[in-house]
C-alpha cells in the first residue's frame, strides 16, 4: 500500500507585506486520511498555516500541493474547485449574520450547485446532529457563542470534505459538546476525511489516539523525528 499525501509543503515561507516571515521553511506532508493536531503558542503561525491549507493565502516562497495537484502558481479561477473539497471551521465562526442557521449550513451545498430539494434533508440532519434542529431559522446574532460554533462546524462538514481544517473548534463549547464534536471529526476521519485541528485543548488531543502532532514555534515547524517531512509508510496488507 502506498501512502498518498493530500497536502505537501516544500520550503514554504509566508510574509505579510514587507514584514518579517511569519512562516519559515515549512517542509511536511499530510497523509490522506490522517488526523493532525496543530499546536504551538499564540503567535506561532498556526492561523497563517491554516490559511495556506484552505487556500485563503498564497505562500511568498516554496511550493504547495493539495490533493496531488501543484497549486503554488495555480490560476485564481482554478482555486474554487479545490476549496469545495475543503471544510473550514474558523475561530471567529464567520457566519453570515443576515442568513438563518439553515441557510448558513446550506451555503456550501448551494455553491456546489445542489438543488433546493436535495439541500433540505442533509441540512436538517446536520443541524439535528449538532443539537440545533429547533434553531434552524435563527440568525447568528440571536445564537450563543457555542451555538454559532456548532453552526460553523455543521457548515464545514455538510459537504463531507476531503480535508477538514478547524481553528480552535472547541473554544466556545462545553465539555459535552466538545466530546460530540470530536466524535464527529473522528467519524469523518474514519470515512476518509483528513482532519487538521489547531487547538490548545490538551484534553481534545489526549482523547484522540492515533492523531499526529504538528508543533509550530516562531513560524517554524518542530519535526525532530522527520515523520512529518517523510511520513512512515504503513505496511502493505496481504
Amino acid at each position: 500500500m502506498v501512502l498518498t499525501p493530500i497536502v505537501e509543503f516544500d520550503s514554504i515561507g509566508l510574509r505579510y507585506g514587507t514584514g518579517a516571515e511569519v512562516l519559515r521553511d515549512l517542509d511536511f506532508r499530510l497523509s490522506k486520511g490522517g488526523f493532525y493536531f496543530l499546536t504551538g503558542p499564540s503567535g506561532a503561525g498556526k492561523t497563517s498555516l491554516l490559511k495556506l491549507l484552505y487556500l485563503a493565502q498564497r505562500p511568498t516562497r516554496g511550493r504547495i500541493s493539495l490533493f496531488g495537484e501543484e497549486l503554488t502558481d495555480a490560476a485564481r479561477d482554478a482555486l474554487p474547485r479545490f476549496r469545495r473539497r475543503i471544510g473550514v471551521v474558523f475561530q471567529d465562526f464567520r457566519l453570515i449574520r443576515h442568513l438563518s442557521a439553515f441557510d448558513n449550513v446550506a451555503l456550501p451545498l448551494r455553491i456546489g450547485g445542489a438543488s433546493e430539494e436535495s439541500v433540505e434533508g442533509p441540512v436538517r440532519e446536520m443541524l439535528a446532529w449538532v443539537g440545533l434542529a429547533d434553531r434552524a431559522s435563527a440568525r447568528p446574532p440571536t445564537l450563543s457563542g457555542g451555538e454559532q460554533q456548532r453552526v460553523a462546524i455543521a457548515r464545514a462538514v455538510i459537504n463531507r470534505p476531503e480535508l477538514l481544517v478547524a481553528d480552535e473548534p472547541t473554544g466556545n463549547v462545553d465539555a459535552d459538546m466538545a466530546r460530540r464534536l470530536l466524535h464527529l471529526f473522528t467519524a469523518l476521519n474514519r470515512l476518509g476525511t483528513t482532519v487538521v485541528v489547531a487547538t490548545h485543548d490538551v484534553g481534545l488531543i489526549s482523547a484522540t489516539p492515533g492523531a499526529q502532532m504538528i508543533r509550530l514555534e516562531n513560524g517554524a515547524m518542530l519535526d525532530p523525528t522527520g515523520s512529518l517531512k517523510n511520513p512512515p509508510q504503513p505496511r502493505s496488507e496481504g
Binding site: 484552505y54 487556500l55 485563503a56 493565502q57 498564497r58 485564481r76 479561477d77 482555486l79 474554487p80 474547485r81 479545490f82 476549496r83 469545495r84 475543503i86 473550514v88 464567520r94 457566519l95 453570515i96 443576515h98 442568513l99 441557510d103 446550506a106 451555503l107 456550501p108 448551494r110 455553491i111 456546489g112 433546493e116 457548515r155
Partner: protein, 289 residues
C-alpha cells in the same frame, strides 16, 4: 443568456437587501430622465432642421430693384418658366411692416425705396440659369437668392445644437456608468464579509458577480423605468402644447422612429448599468487571493 437574472429565493437572501435600497435606482432615474429630455430635444431639433432644409432647398427669391413697376412682368415671366411650381409676389405693405420692426417708423416711409420681391418654388433639377435669364430680360438688375444660402447659418446652428445634445447624452451615459461603478464598489464593500465567506467555501467569481449584477440590474431597471415614465409625462405635456412650453416646441415634432429611440433609452441604460456593474465587480474580485 439571462439565467443570472432569475435567482432562487436562497440566492436572493445572500445579499440580504431589497430593491430600491440605496441611491442607485434614484441616480439611474434622474439620469434616464435627463438623457430622455436631452435626446428628445436633439431629435426634435433634427426634425426641425430637416424640415427647414427641405423647405429651403427648392425655394428662391427674385429681388427686383425698381420696385412695383417691373413686378407684374417679372412675376409672369417666372410663373411661365419651365420647372417653376409656384410663384407669389410679396406685398409691399408686408415688406414695409417687416422693415418697420427693424428700422422704426422710417421703415414705413414712402421715401425709403423698397425692392419688389417674388418668392417661387422650383422642381428639383429645374434650370435655374434659364429662369435667371428670363428674370433679367424683364427686370434688368434683378437677382435671384437661394433660400438655402440665406438659411445656412441657421441650419449650421441647428446642426451644432444636435451635436451638443448628442454629446450631452453621451456625457450623461458616462456619468450613469460612473455612478454604477461607485454603487457596485459600495455594494462590494458592504458585503465584503459575505463575499469572503463565499469565496472561502468555493464560490467562483462568476457566482459572486451574478448576485451583484442581478441586484444592480433590478435597481437600474426600476430606476430607468421611473425616469422614463417621468420624462414621457413631461414630453407629452410639452407636445400637447402646454402654455408653459411657449414657442419652444413650436413646429418641432417627434416621429415614430424618434419615439422608438426614446423608448429604448431606459432599456439601453439598464443594459449599460448591468454590464458596467459586472465588469466593476469582476475587476474588484480579481484583486483578491
Amino acid at each position: 443568456m439571462f439565467d443570472w437574472f432569475f435567482a432562487s429565493p436562497s440566492e436572493r437572501r445572500l445579499l440580504g437587501s431589497r430593491p430600491l435600497q440605496g441611491p442607485t435606482p434614484w441616480v439611474i432615474a434622474i439620469m434616464t430622465f435627463s438623457i430622455m429630455i436631452v435626446a428628445a430635444a436633439g431629435l426634435a431639433l433634427a426634425d426641425t432642421a430637416s424640415r427647414v432644409a427641405a423647405g429651403a432647398e427648392t425655394r428662391y427669391s427674385a429681388q427686383i430693384p425698381d420696385g412695383e413697376r417691373g413686378l407684374p412682368a417679372t412675376l409672369q415671366a417666372i410663373r411661365s418658366a419651365p420647372g417653376v411650381t409656384n410663384a407669389e409676389a410679396v406685398p409691399e405693405a408686408e415688406m414695409r411692416q417687416t422693415l418697420e420692426r427693424w428700422l422704426g417708423p422710417v421703415g414705413a416711409s414712402a421715401d425709403l425705396p423698397v425692392p419688389a420681391l417674388v418668392i417661387f418654388d422650383v422642381r428639383p433639377g429645374a434650370d435655374l440659369a434659364a429662369i435667371e435669364r428670363r428674370v433679367g430680360a424683364t427686370a434688368p438688375g434683378a437677382r435671384l437668392i437661394a433660400h438655402r444660402d440665406a438659411l445656412g447659418p441657421l441650419l449650421r446652428s441647428l446642426t451644432a445644437l444636435q451635436w451638443v445634445a448628442a454629446a450631452l447624452v453621451l456625457l450623461l451615459g458616462g456619468a450613469s456608468a460612473a455612478a454604477v461603478v461607485l454603487a457596485a464598489r459600495g455594494a462590494l464593500d458592504t458585503h465584503r464579509f459575505t463575499i469572503e465567506v463565499m469565496h472561502g467555501i468555493g464560490a467562483t467569481d462568476h457566482q459572486v458577480t451574478h448576485l451583484f449584477q442581478r441586484k444592480i440590474a433590478i435597481d437600474a431597471l426600476i430606476g430607468s423605468v421611473l425616469g422614463g415614465v417621468a420624462a414621457a409625462v413631461v414630453l407629452a405635456t410639452l407636445a400637447a402644447g402646454a402654455s408653459f412650453a411657449g414657442e419652444f416646441m413650436g413646429g418641432a415634432t417627434l416621429g415614430t422612429t424618434d419615439l422608438v429611440v426614446l423608448a429604448l433609452i431606459p432599456l439601453a441604460l439598464t443594459a449599460l448599468a448591468t454590464w458596467v456593474a459586472r465588469a466593476a465587480v469582476l475587476a474588484t474580485l480579481r484583486t483578491a487571493v
